[in-house]
């Protein structure tokens, strides 16, 4: 479907635009993919809770015309869990950055996966803490430069998707700001998945990550995304040597496990039966 048919103005709080993101930032591209998914799925705006933490990506919630909640740093999934458990009929979508979701919010990330609670998390991964001035994050590639890694990061990064799969998320996909058609599909399928979905969206931060890592212009960054990725389907036939330095994109996991809200519904029934029996 052509993006032109999407009525973005209906989904945005246009009075709060222009947004605060830097020129060339990938976050707006990813947000539009989310809006297209919402439109295509025909979701009722009143029935969407859009939840974020702190950081550049987290400002996305202010611009969309849903029930929106801008929480504390790292805690979006914890707040969102409360929203979902109290109002299971709401579609809960959480947006988070790499630092927000994987560092300060790492514990909530793995436990939301483990619970397999019916929510969708979109990680805007730009490899850096943008809002605080370009410090290295848990996804910053080893050797990359950041304001707190002036000699290159010495820490190995997390693979967001492998972490999500290992922790129990039932839909896990990775896309890029470069390839929006793919990303649209992943977000849409993530929202449809009756369980916890994680979509890692590679974003670009020309202001900090790019400037410190020889990717000065937005175009340089997008080209890097285009060149570094390999589809998961293709990767199956590649040797470890061929895969070195590559990032796999695609639907990396789609499984089924009991979902928290539905399982808890059976607990409610059992508790009521037990109370009646007394």
């Amino acid at each position: 479907m052509s993006p032109k048919s999407v009525d973005y103005a209906n989904l945005l709080r246009t009075q709060y635009i222009p947004h605060i993101w830097c020129p060339g930032c990938g976050h707006g591209i990813i947000l539009k993919a989310v809006l297209r998914a919402v439109e295509r799925l025909g979701l009722d705006k009143n029935k969407i809770a859009f939840v974020s933490g702190i950081g550049c990506s987290s400002r996305a919630v202010g611009y969309v015309d849903f029930n929106t909640l801008h929480t504390t740093h790292g805690r979006a999934l914890a707040f969102a869990t409360g929203v979902k458990v109290a109002r299971p009929d709401l579609h809960v979508i959480v947006v988070s950055g790499d630092g927000d979701a994987l560092a300060i919010g790492g514990n909530h990330f793995i436990h939301a996966c483990r619970r397999n609670i019916d929510m969708t998390l979109i990680v805007f991964n730009n490899y850096i803490y943008g809002m605080t001035g370009g410090q290295y994050s848990p996804t910053t590639p080893e050797g990359s430069f950041a304001s707190t890694a002036p000699f290159g990061s010495v820490e190995p990064p997390f693979d967001v998707c492998n972490l999500a799969i290992a922790a129990g998320a039932t839909y896990v996909a990775r896309g890029t700001a470069y390839s929006t058609a793919q990303l649209d599909k992943y977000v849409e399928k993530g929202i449809q998945n009756p369980g916890f979905s994680v979509i890692e969206a590679l974003s670009q931060c020309p202001t900090y990550y790019g400037r410190k890592n020889k990717l000065r212009t937005p175009v340089d960054n997008l080209k890097w995304q285009k060149d570094v990725v390999v589809s998961a389907a293709k990767a199956k036939d590649m040797t470890p040597d061929q895969l070195a330095g590559k990032i796999q994109v695609g639907e990396l996991h789609h499984g089924t496990r009991p979902e928290f809200i539905r399982t808890y519904q059976t607990i409610i029934q059992r508790a009521k039966d037990a109370a009646l029996a007394e």
């Binding site: 009143n46 707040f79 409360g82 909530h108 508790a271």
Partner: protein
């Protein structure tokens, strides 16, 4: 009052039963002594009463979950103790700023750090008032008997809802674990308050526009309004603002909401205060020791009385001044090294001698200790 049921229960169980009676439909918790029984009872009681219980991955998440659930319309509670209360502070500040009704039970134990997990203390009085960063409004209540734990938790929910503000509910290891008889009133006897509703059924664009009490008319999520909630400084619309005037007005409005309505939040219990020459000011479990001391001293013909604040914050300054008027001596026992006494000294000044009785060895303050100080 029509009584539905008489039971013999612990303070923690009374707290859980009271929460259900208050209309609590969501509890997010994390295990910590000596509060864990509250979570255990609610894990059983909530699903049978159309509520939901979740054990979160940590204390911070527990606090976050109740804020989310409250914004989605539930009456919410969590329970913790000292170390967990420290961890909750940032999100507690969010709840103050975003004006999210919630009840946080703190079954106090000693500290700092792990302290003494299974011994009583009243160590978090000042942390309750000033634990989170920034100036913020807060309500702190502190019951004494098991019956009162049941009744006051209902009041805590009502205050949280009425003012859209966190209410901190302070128990301690003694009254949380001791068992007494409670009388549970018929549901029809209980007045339950729900948060103020927005003035229109949908598309209300001013979630932080205030009613006459200064409380925002916020809609719940999923009710057709699509509001924005943030911990950033914001205006009536709920959206962040850099406007200095709006930001200043917000901070004043947050404080005024509690300060201007304080008279309806105060609650004190006075025992033989009128003719007393010496006044004991005590709260929580320590007030039981103090009351015993008064009983025993009165038998000896000594004129001693007890002022027991049930609402610790906002602090009932005028009531304390009035109770202390004409007294020769004030005695403030508390299971810490002197916290609430700082407020008492501030209020009463230096003209009247104030004696402290403090203990942090994990044992309760005894009536004997208080009698010696009188």
């Amino acid at each position: 009052m029509k009584i539905k049921e008489v039971r013999f229960v612990s303070g923690n169980e009374a707290c859980a039963i009271g929460a259900i009676a208050a209309g609590c439909t969501f509890f997010g918790g994390y295990p910590i002594s000596p509060s864990s029984e509250i979570a255990e009872f609610l894990a059983e009681l909530l699903p049978a009463n159309d509520g939901r219980f979740i054990q979160m991955e940590d204390e911070i998440a527990a606090m976050g979950s109740i804020i989310g659930a409250s914004l989605a319309g539930a009456k919410v509670m969590t329970a913790t103790s000292g170390p967990g209360f420290s961890l909750k502070q940032e999100n507690l500040g969010f709840a103050c700023m975003a004006e999210v009704p919630c009840v946080i039970v703190n079954v106090m134990r000693g500290g700092p750090s792990t302290g003494a997990p299974t011994s009583p203390a009243q160590a978090d009085i000042l942390q309750s008032r000033w634990g989170t960063h920034g100036d913020h409004p807060i309500i702190v209540t502190c019951p004494t008997t098991v019956q009162e734990i049941f009744l006051e938790v209902i009041r805590a929910f009502n205050l949280a809802e009425r003012f859209r503000n966190p209410v901190l509910y302070l128990l301690d290891e003694i009254n949380a674990h001791m068992r007494e008889k409670i009388e549970i009133p018929e549901a029809s006897e209980l007045e339950l308050i729900r948060r103020p509703a927005p003035p229109q059924a949908e598309n209300w664009g001013f979630p932080y526009r205030r009613n006459a009490e200064g409380v925002p008319l916020m809609p719940d999520f999923g009710t057709g309004h699509r509001c924005h909630v943030t911990g950033l400084d914001h205006g009536e619309t709920g959206f962040p603002t850099g406007n200095a005037e709006i930001r200043q007005a917000l901070h004043h409005a947050l404080m005024a909401k509690i300060d201007k309505n304080a008279a309806s939040i105060y609650k004190n219990d006075l025992f033989m205060v009128e003719d007393a020459e010496t006044l004991i000011i005590a709260f929580g479990s320590t007030a039981r020791s103090a009351r015993r001391a008064v009983e025993l001293l009165r038998k000896q013909g000594r004129k001693v009385g007890l002022f027991r604040p049930i609402t610790l914050y906002p602090i009932p300054e005028a009531d304390i001044l009035k109770a202390a008027e004409g007294k020769r001596k004030i005695v403030v026992p508390e299971m810490n090294l002197g916290q609430y006494v700082l407020e008492i000294r501030r209020i009463l000044g230096h003209d009247i001698p104030i004696a402290q009785v403090n203990r942090t060895d994990g044992e309760p303050i005894t009536p004997d200790q208080i009698m010696a100080a009188v």
